[in-house]
């Protein structure tokens, strides 16, 4: 059975991709993130917009396309996300 992912889990997947699994130094393209995070284009566009506005991701324009890199705030958020995922796991919950 397919596992249901919470909104927070999808954000965690996107941020961890931009931190650990980048295509190149400039960042990850939307297409790459769609494939890695397994999410639709319309949904990821909204999430990326929010993450950039919150300062968790940096948007870089290279050769006419947008690429995304994790920011320092994003790294701190991801660290907190992992710690509190383990905290919530103890209660059998997903954050």
């Amino acid at each position: 059975m397919a596992e249901y992912r919470t909104h927070m889990k999808i954000i965690g997947d996107i941020l961890s991709t931009t931190r650990d699994d980048l295509q190149d130094e400039d960042g990850a393209t939307v297409t790459y993130l769609i494939r890695k995070a397994n999410i639709s284009h319309s949904r990821i566009s909204r999430i990326l917009k929010t993450l950039v506005s919150q300062g968790l991701l940096e948007q870089v324009e290279t050769q006419g396309s947008n690429k995304y890199k994790i920011s320092q705030t994003g790294r701190e958020f991801l660290q907190a996300y992992y710690k509190f995922t383990s905290f919530a796991d103890n209660f059998g919950l997903s954050i």
């Binding site: 919470t6 927070m8 919150q54 300062g55 705030t73 701190e76 958020f77 660290q79 907190a80 996300y81 710690k83 509190f84 383990s86 905290f87 919530a88 796991d89 103890n90 209660f91 059998g92 919950l93 997903s94 954050i95």
Partner: protein, 213 residues
């Protein structure tokens, strides 16, 4: 003896609830997760409930000195704790052990109405018992899914709290027996089991970030 146990239980309950509540709050402030928000409400309520009862005992011991805690204080404390247990149960989506038929669902909540005519305190204890059993089962089911060992401890903790709540409620039938003291010892054990895995979560380098929502 009963007075001492009651004080130890309420103090431990207050501290454990406060500790887990603060951790949940830090988590909520850092991630904005609704699950952590529900846990924050749950554990602050549990902490406040224990604190209210502890305050009642302290007031009785040092100020009123009537020999018995004011009944309404105990009822209020238990009611606040029940709110906390509700939020723990509510954090789990209703996915197991709930029959699909509306007839069976209505039969499932019948025990609540069977005890509601006795006293408010009995009602809150029975509701707490049901919520705690539900939370314990759901947590144990999640262990089967993800094999997180901490979930076993939390599940046992919730189950012990449920058993303690049940014995506390049942002790009304045998008021002079040792049942109430046993229920308090079991609940202390439950609170400790609840805190063990949570205390192992490393919280170093976590800071509040006002910019995150």
């Amino acid at each position: 003896m009963e007075f001492l146990l009651e004080n130890i239980l309420n103090l431990i309950g207050f501290l454990v609830g406060l500790g887990i509540g603060i951790m949940s709050l830090i988590g909520f402030r850092n991630t904005g997760s609704p699950t952590l928000f529900r846990l924050t409400i749950a554990f602050f309520s549990i902490s406040l409930g224990f604190f209210v009862i502890w305050s009642g005992y302290m007031a009785e011991d040092f100020v009123i000195q009537s020999g018995n805690i004011e009944r309404w204080v105990q009822t209020l404390g238990i009611a606040i704790q029940t709110v906390g247990y509700f939020f723990i149960a509510f954090s789990h989506s209703i996915k197991a052990f709930f029959p699909k038929s509306s007839y069976f669902r209505s039969v499932g909540i019948l025990p609540l109405f069977l005890v509601s005519s006795v006293q408010l305190e009995h009602l809150f204890r029975s509701v707490s018992f049901i919520l705690l059993v539900y939370g314990a089962i759901e947590t144990m089911l999640s262990y089967i899914d993800n094999k997180n060992k901490g979930a076993i401890s939390v599940s046992i903790g919730l189950a012990l709290l449920a058993l303690g709540e049940f014995l506390g409620w049942y002790s009304f039938v045998f008021p002079e027996s040792i049942l109430y003291s046993i229920s308090m010892v079991i609940k202390i054990g439950g609170l400790i089991a609840l805190f063990i895995p949570v205390s192992k979560v490393p919280l170093t380098k976590i800071k509040f970030d006002e910019g995150l929502e």
